[in-house]
Symmetry: C2
Subunit: 379 residues, 2 copies
């Protein structure tokens, strides 16, 4: 009778209402019935992304959406800037390399992200860059940049701003048109509360012009095909029908709850976790000015073996969080507060963290993290 609570930053918790949708028989995709779904979900995603431009759905993971961005925004040999402040920033560089772009890679220390001033500086040095690729919520460190201020820098340049919002969409605010973001990549399995399987790419008019001009090799991820199909309310290839139908419902749920209100709630949950960590003598990994709304990486003394703690929480208590990746392997525990996670899930997670920390010999007052979180949650 163990729980099966996903507090991982993707896949994230799928609410029971959406499980029910996923468990229904599907319909055929070349029907007016599915076209209606496609129309609604595209419109809903436009609202969440703050754009009146195109939003394309791919049958892929988030990386597929990122590849579509790289494959369509530039051509071999083109200069681009990739920015790294965690594992997912590194993926932009790998993709640019795979597509034989001329990538300038800016490495920022983990725990913070790039600042608008740093964007200004790198663009001053590389004003010929076709695009700058960065990460809105760096899931490996739980850090997020001031995207609005960064877009204010890039929008007056020739350089397109391409954003990995795989773990950010729905959770962190984004206003593509108002701020001037050119490409946003995302997926179904983080803030959108569903299993993985649908990649999402939104493109500005500037990005559409670039993708029409790109000479990159591409077929499945050729967004010109997606654009043409979308004009007929269709997809170029068989979509992940079941997840798309459920995505329509999840988007409706988010919008019905009020997107801004939900995003304020994610921030409140984030603050609750920060206070909770401190109350039991632990530190939040991301620097205060860069902390995301959707997840928190908590530094845990290596002597307590955070990797083992994650395993015990999952295998003994049925509560799944994430450990660290790359250089943070064995140093952090990551807890998600995105999508369908609510304050009761969060308190469940915190109580489990306390339980395994106590067993591991960490000294703190039992209940202190719960009390600290509860105070923030009800403030």
């Amino acid at each position: 009778m163990k729980r099966n609570l996903l507090l991982t930053p993707g896949p994230s918790k799928v609410p029971v209402e959406l499980c029910e949708v996923l468990g229904k028989p599907i319909i055929h995709h070349r029907t007016p019935q599915f076209q209606q779904v496609l129309k609604e979900v595209t419109e809903g995603l436009k609202t969440i992304m703050g754009t009146s431009s195109d939003v394309y759905l791919l049958a892929s993971s988030g990386t597929g959406a990122m590849e579509a961005a790289v494959a369509n925004i530039a051509s071999p040999g083109d200069k681009v800037i990739t920015v790294e402040y965690g594992k997912f920033g590194e993926r932009w560089a790998s993709l640019a390399k795979a597509y034989k772009l001329n990538a300038v890679t800016l490495k920022i220390e983990w725990g913070r992200t790039i600042t608008p001033d740093e964007v200004k500086a790198v663009l001053a040095q590389h004003s010929d860059a076709k695009a700058i690729f960065l990460t809105q919520c760096e899931t490996s460190t739980s850090a997020t940049p001031d995207l609005q201020a960064i877009a204010a820098v890039t929008r007056s340049t020739q350089t397109a701003l391409v954003v990995d919002a795989v773990s950010a969409l729905g959770t962190e605010p984004i206003k593509m048109d108002e701020w001037g973001v050119d490409v946003v990549c995302s997926g179904s399995h983080k803030g959108l509360m569903l299993p993985p399987g649908v990649g999402i790419v939104a493109v500005s008019a500037k990005a559409i012009a670039m993708m029409e001009a790109s000479s990159n090799v591409r077929f499945y991820f050729d967004l010109r095909k997606s654009r043409k199909a979308l004009a007929d309310i269709d997809t170029p290839f068989t979509p992940a029908i079941g997840i798309v139908i459920a995505l329509n419902e999840s988007v409706k749920m988010l919008l019905a709850a009020g997107l801004e209100k939900k995003q304020e709630y994610y921030l409140k949950m984030a603050k609750a976790v920060w206070a909770a960590a401190e109350a039991i003598g632990l530190k939040v990994y991301a620097q205060p000015a860069f902390r995301s709304r959707g997840l928190t990486a908590i530094l845990v003394p290596e002597a307590l073996n955070p990797k083992k703690l994650v395993k015990i929480m999952r295998d003994t208590h049925g509560i799944t969080m994430a450990g660290g990746q790359g250089d943070l392997d064995g140093k952090i525990i990551r807890i998600a507060h995105m999508g369908a996670v609510d304050e009761y899930d969060l308190l469940t997670g915190l109580s489990c963290i306390e339980k395994v920390l106590k067993e591991a010999g960490h000294k703190f007052e039992l209940g202190a993290s719960l009390a600290a979180a509860q105070k923030v949650l009800n403030s």
Copy 2:
């Protein structure tokens, strides 16, 4: 209270047992629990494909699996042969073109497929071809080649045999190792009874050597990454967790029912449809020597407006079949007998075809197709 019966050749009917699995909360993919699933489903698929080599899962549609084959088996400028006898054969040519391969395209009239002698002839002319790409079940025409006899021709050559088995896998027999097939591409949503979202690629040792040597641009569909991950029972990118878990169950269901027995049953259902069509004065489109087990394309006089009949069956009666594609648009009705479709579904479909044909003014004896099918089904 309309039915929602999918008799389309992909997506195909999802049985209620698998709907239930799809409706369950998912687990995280980087866990021993998911590794167990991945191990089981990979082994099961190897059995269905008749191979002891690698089987990779992609978060994609069937076209993604086909792109993975093209992107990994050759390099720009390499000569390859693509064979067209329907819409999906054309996709091989489009993919080869996108990847800048030197593609020789063999066009065969629709309604039949390529013969072993024709394969021998084209290989004699192009013995330097790296690969020959063909379709095991051409979903647009319902025709299938004698793959075993074709593999007997190719296996002694340098040319790899690459097969689109998207709508064939599970339904048409295939024995990769025994016959000598090098690459098999498939998807979750046809004979494997699930919604679309998982692409499947199996590769022989010969194909593995080719993919390690390919210089094509690729990242998401880079099967070298899939191979490396599979060695650690992992996937390079986030898999379509929910569908993969259900795929493990669907593969178990097929194997428990007995694959050969199921495939004989699909053939019996196919023969029942052929007899049924004839009994009401209609012709089966595919030539007798090339008819597939998984679906049947039935020629319907254009005066009866088969496109409209498909629409009425779907919108008024809740029974979804497919019309024609490309040159066959407005000329055929396609009915699937693959995956979870059983004889009762088939009789339901045939009775609905009779109903709409009668309303459209076609002259035949009501019940004749049902009686003809019933005789074959119970022979």
